[in-house]
């Protein structure tokens, strides 16, 4: 039968298209620009892809359940500012002004937990309070962005002194590979594994396909969904730490538009916006398509203002492919 799951391959039709497209894009760029294959460019490419990629892994889970989280970018900014303040900073305001000199691991733990809590609140609103995910997380997006501005006084929060162990997280290398690329790979592998091989992954897909039937099968739908939102919160915290470590400061407007890039990458990667199916491998391809495209346009001398156009077009094309495939499946 044509719809046999086995024949559709491991990453789904949508994911497969994404890899073809990514391959073609890279091939074209290798010929079009000498600067593309340079170590400097590749390093940049990996680093840029990593943070959004980490978030996109969590976003994939949420979109598979049929939900969405647009608070992820401002959640990341809040996490960054909190950690920077805990580590001792020049200009945090309000409550945050008195923080500082917290050991690095503890600061990171607090930052990640705070962001997880924000994610949990998203999940709570979506499941228990039955607020539509888009609206619930839109509210949370404004709240955390506001908190970031309030706590930082609106300025970048910079460290009083160098903290090498913390900075390594953002700009260290293992061999020739940037540390943050390693984080991304580890997280992508873990999330891919969870989705494909664990009962949690199976339940995510079941809920996205048919929430009622899932409940009738004894699945604790609310718990699974809340965990997905909490997990994305945790990843946003991690992302905030990595970005802060990389830039050596935290800004309240960090992560602006990351939610859109993540969602676009997830959809390009073949995860259906209506939920029920998706893969991490596809999402990874999606992220790289976005990043390679942006880098390529830079290398080709296209002004960055045109990149919005390309992002938008790619998202729409991906959604068109998704809906076309859905329709063909009947």
């Amino acid at each position: 039968m044509e719809h046999n799951g086995k024949k559709r391959g491991r990453i789904g039709i949508g994911g497969l298209y994404a890899y073809f497209f990514l391959g073609a894009l890279i091939l074209i760029m290798i010929f079009a620009s000498d600067a593309f294959l340079t170590p400097y460019n590749l390093y940049n490419l990996l680093s840029t892809a990593a943070i959004k990629g980490i978030l996109a892994c969590g976003m994939t889970f949420i979109i598979i359940t049929g939900g969405i989280d647009i608070s992820v970018g401002s959640n990341l900014a809040f996490g960054g500012i909190l950690v920077a303040a805990l580590l001792g900073s020049t200009n945090a305001t309000g409550l945050f002004a008195h923080l500082g000199n917290v050991p690095v691991p503890l600061a990171m733990l607090i930052g990640v937990l705070a962001c997880s809590l924000i994610g949990f609140c998203n999940g709570f609103m979506v499941t228990k309070l039955r607020i539509p995910p888009f609206i619930a997380t839109m509210g949370m997006m404004q709240i955390t962005r506001g908190l970031s501005y309030i706590c930082s006084g609106g300025f970048a929060v910079t460290f009083k002194k160098d903290i090498p162990s913390f900075q390594w997280i953002g700009s260290g290398k293992i061999g020739a590979v940037p540390s943050i690329a390693i984080f991304f790979i580890v997280i992508a592998v873990i999330f891919g594994y969870i989705l494909k091989f664990t009962s949690y992954g199976r339940f995510l897909c079941a809920i996205g396909n048919n929430e009622v039937a899932s409940r009738f099968s004894g699945i604790n739908v609310n718990k699974i969904k809340m965990l997905a939102y909490t997990t994305l919160g945790t990843l946003a915290g991690l992302g905030g730490i990595i970005l802060t470590a990389r830039l050596n400061s935290a800004t309240p407007d960090a992560g602006m538009g990351y939610e859109l890039d993540c969602i676009t990458a997830v959809v390009i990667g073949g995860t259906s916006l209506s939920g029920g199916k998706g893969t991490i491998a596809g999402t990874v391809a999606g992220i790289f398509i976005m990043v390679v495209l942006a880098t390529s346009l830079n290398l080709l001398g296209v002004q960055s203002i045109y990149q919005y156009l390309s992002k938008g077009l790619i998202l729409l094309i991906a959604v068109l492919i998704d809906s076309y495939l859905n329709r063909r499946r009947g």
Binding site: A206, N210, A213, S217
Partner: protein
């Protein structure tokens, strides 16, 4: 003999890998009810979807009033006077009857963009009155019974000047009283010269309203019978399945062990839905729950299974009082529910046979940490269910939506067998599945009770209740009105209790 208004000749339709219709001939006369029967997958739906423009025909010709016509889209069908009433009603619940009738063609006041509501409601009311229906055109559809909604659906089709009305299992969700009303409406339509193609899974309806009957099987025309009084239901069944059913209404043995009580429900109440429901079930017993649609049967079992809350009462499993707050709890105590609405509640249609079978019991395939699914074990187990239950599927990874109704139902049942429940609640276990698959479901139920399971079966089909149940509870408007043993139960007794007369 009345004139023929529709003729379909040598109709052919291919789907990938299947010949859905193979040179089928069909004709319809003015003012007749032509019943179309056949097992699921026989081609009934395909035939009417071709007529209504949903599918394109691959071969053959369609004549209407003797003229050759091509129908390529639903609008073509509408212009030719063909209207369809599907099983799923298509009315918009928040709008009024009038708005629904005029949907898409609301009249404007001259030279403005404002809708002429006076005309909408005036003309709708006229139409309803002319048909003698006691319905107010200003009433909203939401809150009307399914029976009345269906009548509005018919009116809507008539309002677009349909002369041929196709009804796809119109009685499947109606109560007996509503069915009577629908039938008298059909009689009236016949009187007005309107022709009806009527698809049904209920044979006894055939003699009540049918004029002729056509039997399809595996995409081929078996026979069109002009004299329906000269044929028995046994003969029709054997035409449909191509074999003779011998003694189809016997159930072999009694496996019930009266000494072991597995489920006891005491005074279960849910405000305004049902009250003081008490019932018991034993090991190896099939307990039938009969009653009219809307009597609260589904609601009672939903409450037992933890889907709906209840406002009072106790539930005991194996003599121990338990609290069930969610289906998860129910499954923990060994209760499974095969819901009436298979596609919405019983199965995740877009997932594979394997994923569906193990959905409620995935933990048994976990490694020691309880995290990772052991695919080898899982596959083996699912394959054994496919073999045992004779589920017809190309493979365990086949998406369930592509299976036939009967095989879908088997997957829904396999899910509970896989999670080792010992109390299985089945809500309309054979609804919408073909005759052959029905027999297999019955056999399966027999095997289950033989192995010591308890089955609670809700059914609206009296022969099914009488055939399968060891004991029968009858519900009427949310109350138990009677309990009958297998020996004392008859159709008449059950109907009396169900009507509480």
């Amino acid at each position: 003999m009345a004139e023929t208004i529709l003729e379909m000749k040598k109709i052919k339709k291919h789907f990938p890998g299947v010949l859905a219709l193979n040179e089928v001939d069909f004709d319809l006369r003015k003012g007749e009810v032509h019943v179309l029967i056949g097992e699921n997958g026989a081609g009934k739906s395909t035939l009417i979807k071709i007529l209504s423009g949903v599918y394109k025909v691959d071969g053959g010709e369609i004549f209407i009033d003797g003229k050759k016509r091509t129908i390529t889209c639903p609008n073509d069908a509408k212009t030719l006077g063909i209207g369809v009433i599907y099983q799923e009603l298509s009315l918009l619940p928040l709008l009024t009857v009038g708005e629904n009738l005029f949907l898409g063609q609301l009249p404007h006041k001259p030279h403005t963009f404002a809708v002429d509501w006076k005309r909408v409601y005036g003309e709708s009311q006229q139409f309803l009155d002319k048909l003698g229906l006691p319905i107010n055109s200003r009433e909203t559809v939401k809150g009307m019974g399914i029976g009345r909604q269906q009548m509005i659906e018919v009116v809507k089709v008539l309002a677009s000047n349909a002369r041929i009305i196709i009804m796809d299992e119109p009685t499947s969700s109606l109560s007996d009283r509503e069915i009577e009303r629908l039938f008298s409406m059909i009689q009236m339509l016949k009187g007005k010269g309107i022709s009806i193609i009527y698809i049904s899974h209920r044979l006894n309806e055939l003699w009540k309203i049918g004029d002729r009957v056509t039997v399809l099987k595996d995409g081929c025309l078996v026979k069109t019978i002009d004299d329906i009084d000269g044929i028995t239901s046994d003969e029709l069944v054997s035409l449909m399945v191509g074999r003779k059913f011998e003694d189809s209404f016997a159930r072999a043995d009694n496996y019930c062990d009266r000494n072991i009580e597995t489920l006891r429900v005491e005074n279960l109440t849910r405000d305004r839905v049902f009250e003081n429901i008490s019932l018991v079930a034993h090991k190896g017993e099939i307990v039938g729950i009969a009653g009219l649609v809307g009597a609260g049967r589904t609601e009672v079992v939903s409450a037992i299974f933890g889907v709906d809350r209840c406002d009072g009462g106790k539930v005991f499993v194996n003599g121990e009082q338990i609290a069930i707050k969610s289906p998860k709890d129910a499954i923990k105590y060994g209760i499974g529910l095969v819901p009436e609405d298979r596609k919405e509640k019983g199965l995740v249609l877009r997932m594979s046979v394997k994923d569906n079978v193990t959905l409620a019991s995935l933990e048994q395939f976990m490694d020691k940490l309880g995290l990772v699914v052991n695919f080898v074990q899982e596959r083996k187990k699912v394959q054994s269910f496919i073999d045992d239950l004779r589920i017809k599927t190309p493979g365990i990874n086949q998406v369930v939506v592509n299976l036939s109704g009967g095989n879908q139902q088997k997957v829904a049942i396999a899910k509970w067998l896989c999670s080792h429940v010992h109390i299985l609640i089945m809500d309309e276990p054979t609804r919408g599945i073909d005759v052959g698959a029905k027999e297999e479901v019955y056999q399966l139920m027999n095997e289950l009770v033989k192995n010591g399971a308890t089955i609670i079966m809700i059914s609206s089909e009296l022969p099914e209740i009488l055939r399968m149940s060891d004991r029968i509870y009858v519900l009427h408007e949310g109350k138990v009105t009677g309990e009958l043993s297998r020996a004392e139960a008859t159709e008449e007794k059950i109907m009396h209790l169900a009507w509480n007369s």
